[in-house]
């Protein structure tokens, strides 16, 4: 009679099992790769950016999945203006990027599309894509930065990557156009121990900025501007610096995030 206890146990055990418990979940891990670069249509140079959510945002939407799809989690370009994602499922994707350049996807106030320069493509194996954009600004070093008493003195030149008429012709149809959009609002000098220096990797002790109100900057476009680091960097350190500038226009429109255009990072030895 004692053995009777085993029957219910056996039945219980059996009822808890199912065939799928003995199978291996053999759905293949996502392994397709998208590699992309963002270049200036005028010069062919990479559009340099910040590494993080203030940089160039890459949004993939798998359109082969169904009608009502939500985008994959966003990711961001590397500082040199390239991006890559090696863990994608095979399929057809819409690729849209948003950054400090004329928006690729433009619609008017009622939501009617005006232009859509985003790309829709099959991603399988290693797929590459190149976006040609019109960056708002170009930032470049003038000469080499100098150091005095632990303070870095850098010279930069800011030029427009897109002409005012071109900007207006493309942005004005989107509605709510304001002539202040083109004003350059600030120049930054980011300082960091990290070579991926930028807004996200900056040291607040030394990074600095110059702010401009209204159209004050307009006469300075193309001129050499001197910007110094803040504070005093201890001698013997190696730091990386980068300059950035932005206009009074947020991308994507409505997000309130005004993104900077950057120049390439450079290493500075503090004597």
């Amino acid at each position: 009679m004692k053995k009777i206890i085993f029957y219910p146990l056996f039945i219980l055990l059996f009822s808890l099992s199912s065939c799928s418990m003995f199978e291996i979940d053999n759905y293949k891990a996502p392994a397709e790769t998208i590699k992309g670069e963002v270049v200036d249509v005028a010069t062919g140079k990479s559009v340099l950016t910040d590494q993080g959510s203030e940089g160039i945002r890459v949004r993939l939407t798998e359109v082969s999945y169904g009608d009502n799809v939500t985008p994959n989690p966003d990711f961001y370009c590397m500082p040199d203006g390239t991006f890559q994602n090696t863990k994608l499922f095979k399929g057809k994707y819409n690729i849209r990027i948003d950054g400090p350049f004329i928006p690729l996807v433009r619609a008017d106030q009622s939501g009617t599309p005006i232009a859509d320069e985003s790309t829709t493509m099959e991603i399988s194996g290693v797929t590459t894509v190149k976006f040609e954009v019109q960056p708002f600004l170009n930032v470049e070093w003038v000469g080499n930065p100098t150091v005095s008493n632990g303070q870095i003195i850098a010279k930069v030149r800011v030029t427009r990557g897109v002409s005012e008429t071109d900007f207006k012709s493309k942005v004005e149809p989107m509605g709510n156009y304001n002539s202040t959009f083109l004003n350059i609002t600030d120049i930054r000098l980011f300082v960091s121990y990290s070579s991926s220096v930028g807004y996200r990797a900056r040291d607040d002790r030394w990074s600095n900025k110059i702010e401009y109100t209204g159209s004050d900057f307009n006469p300075l476009v193309g001129q050499t501007i001197t910007i110094k680091s803040a504070g005093s960097i201890p001698p013997g350190r190696n730091v990386f610096i980068r300059a950035a500038a932005r206009i009074n226009f947020d991308t994507p429109v409505g997000s309130g995030t005004r993104r900077w255009n950057y120049n390439e990072p450079t290493e500075v030895l503090i004597p």
Binding site: P8, Q109, N176, Y199, G254, R258
Partner: protein, 686 residues
């Protein structure tokens, strides 16, 4: 082997049932006629609705959202600058872990069902009772819509019971435009106010003036959003991708008229409560020119259920319906089982009267022109620093050396044994240098040692010989530099804590009520709406002089608070508006209101952050781009002089950096809701 048959047979028995008489209503099934045909049943229906209301009281944590849990109870730690906490819950209000979406529709269904089903039972109730029930349902619906709208903007306006199963089209409700959403909230609050009785028929139920008071708050939110969206780059508006509806923000040609309309409604609602509501500011123990009485009066008002200032209160009852605020936010010496959840900031203290200041408005702690120059000012005891502090501040904050629950609250950052005069401990107190801490100073780490600090309580306390005995480096409540459970800012919050010395705190031991709406807020709503109308060039909605009303309001609140009165009428200007905003920030601190105010003023992102404190304040003092921080006030004891000095420094223990970007003004719609529906739009700027 026979046993298996017995088992099988007995198993079969369970599968058999008699099918006759299944048309008898089961006893455990409660139908409309059971609940809605009598007052006892309606009480059950109301209890269900009111227990699910999106109230932000002791059981609400901004980071977690509405999950009705008092764990880690703390107030004002959501990046508003009121207070700081050691944990991850101390973060800017950029999202809620439990978005208020799914549970909102459950409650909406209850309210809509009541509105649709109750008319069948109209004959069972007296006319006023019947109307009151309908009014409660409108109030519930308005409250839910309002709670959602201030989080998401345009929302699905479900105003009827959706029967299931039905066609997909009937089941899916897209998000309405933000303007339509606020108009619906306005209509529902108006319906509620017209149907509800002037006094709540039962404790916890709404009444006419509760509805009007919350209407004024909601309309102030709507008017501010319409107006101050314009101050954000990109105007914070956009059309939904799926529906093409303006689910976020206002159109360029309607925001102005919408903003004026909402401010007008806010003003009218607040004025009606002022004129006919019969409420008044709590002044039971208040005595003119008696700072102690004014302070005690403002301590008592938060636990006095008979207060004439209370409009709407969430009550608790020991031992069945309790919370644990005292178990988490009491000073360290009353630790049970945690402590120091709510530590007010120095920046908050600086809003109040009664302190000497530098030219930039920050509190003066040295003889110099800023806190990095000159020598420290010395005080015989820490409380001397606060001897002129506004009584309202003392009712909000426990100062170092003040008394709470019959005990002196000893707060001391450390002991300084160096020579006098004492120069500032740091050379740079700016934001850029915020990470430089006391334990890294040469005076602490190198010989000769002049600064003693403690990493923790008990045996970790460093001892300093003084007057023949040893004194601990840190006070009994800290700050201890390795313990986030000590007094991390040098100040403690007093508001909401149970002041009774015989009360022993513990989890689920607290039963203080939470005041969800009080008369002071209605006054401030009227003042702010009046200022905004005046700034927009509007005429008064009633006969009153809007600027005079605002001036009287501010002065009556300041009189009760023991603060300096205004001597002239508030001007119709940004500065005038800021007087009202700052008063609001002071009066309603730690009441889960300020985070919404900062949100609707759109002053939390960097570009507009100089308005963060309600008044214009240089944002670079406490922020850098999207990030910002707050400061503490740390008392130190000098053995050479036997006196105390204070150091104003960015948060020393459990350092927190907050971040806020313009997209955070509208929370993301939960991703799952967007992907499973063909009509629910994500925010256009996400």
């Amino acid at each position: 082997m026979k046993n298996i048959y017995i088992l099988l047979l007995s198993g079969l028995l369970f599968l058999i049932a008699c099918s006759k008489d299944l048309n008898i209503k089961p006893k455990n099934f409660v139908a409309d006629e059971d609940l809605m045909s009598n007052e006892a049943g309606m009480e059950i229906y109301m209890a269900r609705m009111y227990s699910n209301m999106p109230f932000e009281d002791f059981k609400y944590m901004a980071q977690w959202g509405l999950n009705f849990n008092s764990w880690l109870g703390a107030t004002g730690i959501d990046g508003t600058g009121e207070a700081l906490d050691r944990d991850g819950i101390c973060t800017a209000f950029t999202n809620e872990d439990n978005p208020y979406w799914g549970s909102a529709f459950v409650l909406l269904r209850d309210a809509n069902h009541l509105l649709e089903a109750l008319p069948q039972f109209k004959g069972s109730f007296a006319e006023p009772t019947y109307n009151d029930y309908l009014g409660q349902a409108y109030y519930v619906r308005a409250t839910v819509f309002y709670a959602m709208a201030r989080r998401f903007g345009g929302i699905p306006l479900v105003t009827k019971v959706i029967q299931y199963p039905a066609d997909q089209d009937a089941l899916e409700v897209p998000r309405s435009s933000e303007e339509d959403t606020w108009n619906q909230i306005l209509a529902d609050f108006d319906q509620a106010a017209s149907l509800l009785s002037p006094k709540s028929p039962k404790q916890g139920y709404s009444n006419k003036y509760v509805a009007l008071a919350f209407k004024s708050e909601a309309m102030l939110y709507a008017g501010s959003v319409a107006k101050y969206n314009e101050t954000v780059t990109g105007r914070l508006t956009g059309l939904g991708q799926k529906t093409g509806t303006r689910v976020m923000g206002f159109a360029a040609d309607t925001w102005q008229s919408a903003s004026k309309k909402y401010f007008r409604e806010a003003y009218k609602a607040a004025r009606e409560v002022m004129l006919n509501g019969g409420y008044s500011l709590y002044k039971k123990k208040w005595v003119a020119n008696d700072r102690d009485a004014q302070y005690q009066n403002m301590v008592d008002m938060f636990s006095d259920l008979t207060s004439p200032e209370n409009i709407y209160v969430r009550e608790y009852l020991y031992p069945t319906l309790t919370h644990g605020y005292d178990a988490y936010s009491s000073p360290f010496i009353f630790r049970a089982p945690l402590s120091s959840g709510t530590c007010p900031t120095l920046d908050f203290l600086e809003l109040f009267d009664g302190f000497d200041r530098y030219a930039d408005g920050t509190v003066k702690v040295t003889t110099g022109t800023s806190n990095s120059t000159g020598e420290y000012l010395l005080y015989d005891k820490p409380m001397d620093f606060f001897k002129n502090a506004e009584p309202r501040l003392r009712a909000n904050v426990i100062f170092p050396g003040d008394v709470f629950k019959g005990k002196e609250i000893e707060i001391r950052g450390g002991v300084f044994t160096g020579s006098t005069p004492i120069k500032p401990l740091f050379s740079d107190y700016s934001y850029a240098n915020a990470n430089q801490l006391y334990q890294q100073l040469d005076a602490y780490t190198k010989q000769p040692k002049a600064l003693y600090l403690s990493s923790n309580s008990g045996s970790s306390q460093e001892l300093v010989p003084y007057n023949g005995s040893n004194m601990t480096a840190a006070g009994a409540n800290g700050p201890f530099y390795s313990s986030g459970e000590s007094c991390i800012t040098g100040l403690y919050a007093r508001k909401w804590l149970n002041p009774d010395p015989s009360f022993v705190a513990g989890e689920g031991k607290s039963a203080q009520p939470f005041i969800l709406m009080r008369y002071a807020e209605v006054l401030l709503n009227a003042a702010e709406a009046g200022l905004e109308l005046s700034l927009a060039g509007e005429t008064t909605p009633d006969e009153s002089d809007m600027l005079q009303v605002a001036t009287n309001v501010v002065n009556s609140i300041r009189e009760r608070a023991g603060a300096t009165q205004l001597i002239s009428v508030i001007e119709s200007s940004q500065a005038g508006r800021n007087i009202v905003r700052k008063e609001r920030r002071k009066e309603l601190a730690f009441e889960n209101k300020i985070k919404w105010d900062l949100r609707r003023w759109r002053v939390q992102h960097y570009d507009q952050r100089e308005g963060f404190w309600g008044e214009a304040k240089n944002k670079d003092l406490y922020s850098n781009s999207s990030e910002y921080r707050f400061r503490g006030l740390y008392p130190f004891f000098s053995t050479q002089t036997g006196k105390y000095f204070f150091d104003a420094h960015f948060q020393w223990v459990s350092m927190k950096t907050f971040q806020y970007n313009p997209i955070d003004y509208y929370f993301a719609i939960p991703g799952g809701e967007v992907s499973k529906s063909t009509v629910i739009d994500q925010q256009p700027n996400r």
